[in-house]
Amino acid sequence: MRVNIHHMSVQDLEKIFQDKIDADIRIEPKDWMPDAYRKTLIRQMSQHAHSEIVGMLPEANWITRAPTLRRKATLIAKVQDEAGHGLYLYAATETLGAGREELLEQLHTGKAKYSSIFNYPTLTWADMGAIGWLVDGAAIMNQVPLCRASYGPYARAMVRICKEESFHQRQGFEILLTLSKGSAGQRRMCQDAIDRWWWPSVMMFGPNDDASPHTAQSMQWKIKRFSNDELRQRFVDICAEQVKILGMTIPDPDLKWNEQRQHYDFGAIDWDEFWNVVKGNGPCNKERLAARVRAHEEGAWVREAATAHAEKRELKKDRA
């Protein structure tokens, strides 16, 4: 039976929508959806897309200095993967009616956010390992549940992305493992990178649950499946074990196994730092955004030329 939505009240439509979600039936681009759902998705997905694109910069910073040919090739491939993730996500966001140009404009004017983690600098080669292990690791923790997100195009994009992210994570860990077995200088590099990336990575899960206003609604819409603190705990538990394989330490004196909770306890997060980096006061906020804006502005004549050429070709075809 085909339902004519024009004869239905908003309440009816909302009920059908929520019933579908409750029954784990995917919402597709042509389906009716509440405005707030659409807006929340556009915000979340474009923010994710921007993160992939801005996230290329800290790692691209080491491509020309990668220490071996194999590492150079895998690092280029990794950064290229992130560009691909950005593409999938921009395409998925377009199905909600938000075009790439418009979204980029929001990024470049600072209206849209991206993950704060990319506002930290990459100072040594070991950062390529720490980013893979911790940053891609935290991203996976956040994103695997999104493979079951209620919005179809988003969920499908996340399936492809998560496969590659877990590859990145293993690669990053392997970089650190190699360093951990290396010279004194390399081991120092390894520990230093873990020291610098640990807390920013723990912050990637966002504010504590009691300070996270969107969580309840997003859970009901199934565009979020676990709370920030649940995911963070899972991340800490895994990393606390993995760091032992490296023979390195996590820079948290309060990190301790809690037999009763069957989880690791960990120290207080510096939310002052978190909110400052979000607001633009991180070590690289200005450089990262400037690099994106520069690439876009310096590319303007290229895009114009491509359009002009395509138009001229169309014209020729029409005349022929």
Partner: protein, 276 residues
């Protein structure tokens, strides 16, 4: 059988071309004018570095087979300071890429030139790919089976690079007044480095004589035809002959290469003898 110095030099020359151009292209990664094209150019960088690795691995094999009786003028600089004395450990692809100095690099001057704007990067790739595809097509018939195999495999990648860069040369040449001007400026900067592509280095004369590598003078007309065809479609005038710069293939480079190597080799130099 010990392999000739010429074959080792020639293999390193092929490797260095790929590595340096791949490295240059990878400087764009994350900064491209269009996301899709950022990915495309990174992909070309990956192909070129992959090709370079195949050639370096083969060069290392040749050097290692040569053993102590091998050509000392290669193995010593190739292995870098401190590694050439005492018991010799086998040379690796990474030592060849990361521990030789500029005068041992045998890449063409064209590939080490700075990226400039998108027009210059595109034109550099196009001029090189037009050369590389004609070279690989012939090299696939080399009497040296390893070089032939690498060339055959790399040829397919080169054809894609040539198609991609040709399309961009046409797009920019034809597009807007600005893009046309930028293409001409790029041509003005790069043209003087194209003569070297078809000027044989001493080791190339030797490898050509042994049917290991093609006679470069036979490739030149094919290259010119290809370039002219694309320039015509792009509305760009094929430049008149000018005084050409040469020397890269013999180790005499422009000032650019030193900076490329300083950056690329930094970790291997600062932390010698490490696994990465």
């Amino acid at each position: 059988m010990t392999h000739s110095t010429a074959l080792i030099h020639y293999t390193l020359h092929l490797a260095d071309d790929g590595l340096i151009l791949g490295h240059r292209n990878s400087e764009w990664t994350g900064h491209g004018p269009i996301l899709e094209q950022d990915i495309a150019l990174s992909n070309i960088a990956l192909d070129l570095i992959g090709q370079a690795r195949n050639f370096y691995q083969y060069a290392a094999e040749l050097i290692n087979i040569g053993g102590l009786s091998g050509p000392s003028n290669i193995s010593n600089p190739a292995m870098g300071p401190g590694l050439s004395d005492g018991p010799r450990s086998p040379v690796t692809e990474d030592q060849l890429a990361y521990l030789r100095d500029g005068w041992d690099f045998k890449n063409c001057l064209l590939v080490e030139q700075g990226n400039g704007d998108w027009a210059k990067t595109i034109l550099r790739q196009f001029l090189f790919s037009a050369y590389q595809t004609t070279l690989y097509e012939k090299l696939a018939q080399s009497r040296d089976k390893t070089l032939a195999a690498i060339a055959a495999k790399s040829y397919k990648e080169g054809v894609y690079h040539l198609r991609w860069s040709s399309e961009w040369v046409i797009r920019l040449g034809d597009g807007t007044e600005e893009s046309h001007t930028r293409m001409n400026n790029a041509l003005d900067e790069l043209w003087k480095f194209t003569g070297e592509l078809h000027t044989a280095a001493t080791y190339e004369l030797e490898t050509a004589a042994k049917a290991i590598s093609p006679d470069l003078s036979t490739l030149q007309p094919l290259w010119k035809e290809k370039v002219k065809e694309v320039f015509d479609e792009a509305g760009i005038t094929y430049p008149p002959s000018v005084w050409m710069q040469t020397g890269g293939k013999e180790g005499r480079h422009t000032e650019h290469l030193g900076y490329v190597l300083a950056e690329m080799q930094f970790l291997q130099r600062a932390y010698p003898g490490c696994e990465w």
